[in-house]
């Protein structure tokens, strides 16, 4: 197979709150021979605040990045972040389908947009282009005995007509990758429920309820860890787990991994590349548990 190569849009949170997602994504892709060509001087897609303010403004912020990717000669942009993914996809879709909308967007930009590249999540490429089978022979340290729930969050596969990936009600891509890495994937009925998204700052009370429900369910199922693909979900469940515990009188210590970290771990990537020390809830008991179960077997 020829080497896979894509334009890459890291997204702002990768430079801060989700730097371990960014590091592990790059490490994983390198190990799998997938080339990520970072879009030069990419800018913020505007996230929820932009589309909540105006659709043309939002599309212009995303559109600038799509145009830069097209200038690189790339026809597909990858991003790890579901929120960036939604914004980039939405912008591309509307610009390509409506000349009127495109003209409005171009009015805000220095350079008009010509070509609009395709946009996919890193997860989509790993699942569709590489596939769980393509991963299997790279697994050096299987995640044996590790019971996980996969949490996709609300927008990674929704709405289906826009995202065109996996299932909107019961996504399985992360499940299959986790199984290929040797983990036990528990059936998690809240796979696509909302964690509270970006209201953690302004309306923490609401987020505590929504994220609390997810942790309750994961714990009830007996999961050793939650696996996510979204910086916002990860932040609400990991960084805010202490707040959730306090608000709901619980005492969970459930590690919340990015799927890239667990795949990287199973492939034996160096720890520094996985950013495990950036997680708030200590992941080591869960990871050391794997080794112990291995010994016992």
């Amino acid at each position: 197979m020829s080497k896979l190569s894509y334009a890459y849009y890291p997204g702002c949170s990768g430079q801060g709150t989700s730097m371990e997602y960014e590091a592990s994504t790059r490490g994983l892709c390198e190990a799998l021979d997938i080339e990520l060509k970072e879009i030069p001087d990419w800018s913020c897609c505007g996230s929820t605040p932009a589309h909540a303010c105006d659709h043309v403004l939002s599309a212009a912020l995303s559109g600038r990045n799509l145009a830069l990717a097209a200038d690189m000669g790339e026809d597909c942009v990858l991003t790890p972040c579901p929120s960036c993914l939604t914004n980039l996809k939405n912008a591309g879709r509307h610009i390509a389908h409506s000349d009127d909308f495109k003209a409005k967007v171009n009015k805000l930009l220095d350079e008009p947009i010509n070509e609009v590249p395709d946009v996919k999540s890193v997860l989509q490429i790993l699942f569709e282009d590489l596939g769980p089978e393509g991963l299997k022979d790279k697994i050096l340290k299987p995640l044996k005995g590790l019971k996980v729930v996969t949490y996709y969050g609300c927008i990674l596969t929704r709405p289906p007509k826009l995202m065109e990936f996996d299932s909107e009600e019961n996504p399985i891509s992360m499940d299959e990758l986790m199984k290929a890495a040797g983990a036990e994937v528990l059936p998690f009925p809240l796979k696509t429920e909302c964690c509270g998204a970006s209201h953690g700052v302004a309306r923490k009370d609401l987020v505590m309820k929504l994220s609390g429900k997810l942790l309750d369910m994961a714990a009830q199922l007996g999961a050793d860890a939650v696996v996510t693909a979204c910086p916002l979900c990860q932040m609400n469940l990991d960084l805010r787990q202490g707040q959730v515990n306090q608000a709901n009188k619980t005492s969970y210590k459930l590690p919340v991994f990015y799927y890239t970290q667990l795949l990287g771990w199973a492939m034996g990537l160096p720890q520094a590349q996985l950013g495990l020390d950036k997680l708030c809830v200590d992941p080591m008991p869960a990871l050391n548990g794997i080794a112990k179960k291995e010994d016992a077997a």
Binding site: Q15, S43, A60
Partner: protein
């Protein structure tokens, strides 16, 4: 439950405006309630999302634009995903926020302040500067204790940069915002 006197408060142009800006055929909503049943925020909304749709259909502009719901909607798109009539309900909620913002209706001040601080940060640096965003938000809302407990968790991990990530093209981003304001004057 809040009741609305339909005949006193009808604004007939409102539904057309929302239809035009969202590109959605709102008359197709037959109040099945799928969106409300799917909405994770129903417990926190003052008006459930299907009722918002009905109020738009019946031209209840003020009741809709004054609601908390339109600001609390997390854009999770569960409603859009499950609407049997293919209405992009989340897009309608977005458009209602746009109109509320333009016409000065803001029920959830803190949510809007957070959005504004975020966009100001992008405008200044080209990318979000998280600490700057939080400082700006605290200044706008006076909520000093918001997430103070998270600082000690994040700073030692180096997860929040103390300096902004300015991009080379940050002036180009500032120009996008400026042109947007000029277009919408």
């Amino acid at each position: 439950m809040q009741t609305v006197n339909l005949t006193d408060t009808v604004d007939r142009t409102f539904m057309e405006k929302v239809m035009e800006e969202s590109g959605q055929v709102l008359s197709q909503c037959y109040q099945c309630g799928n969106c409300t049943a799917s909405c994770p925020y129903t417990f926190g909304f003052d008006i459930p999302v299907s009722r918002v749709m009905r109020l738009v259909q019946t031209g209840q502009k003020k009741a809709v634009l004054e609601s908390s719901s339109i600001w609390l909607c997390a854009s999770c798109t569960s409603c859009t995903t499950r609407c049997p009539n293919n209405i992009d309900v989340a897009c309608v909620m977005d458009v209602l926020r746009h109109i509320a913002r333009r016409e000065g209706f803001v029920k959830e001040r803190r949510v809007k302040a957070f959005f504004d601080s975020f966009l100001d940060s992008v405008r200044k640096h080209g990318r979000v500067f998280e600490i700057g965003l939080m400082v700006d938000y605290v200044c706008k809302t006076g909520r000093f204790w918001t997430d103070m407990d998270l600082g000690p968790k994040m700073l030692p991990k180096g997860k929040m940069s103390l300096r902004p990530h300015d991009i080379k093209g940050k002036d180009a981003i500032a120009r996008i915002f400026k042109r947007f304001e000029e277009e919408n004057k």
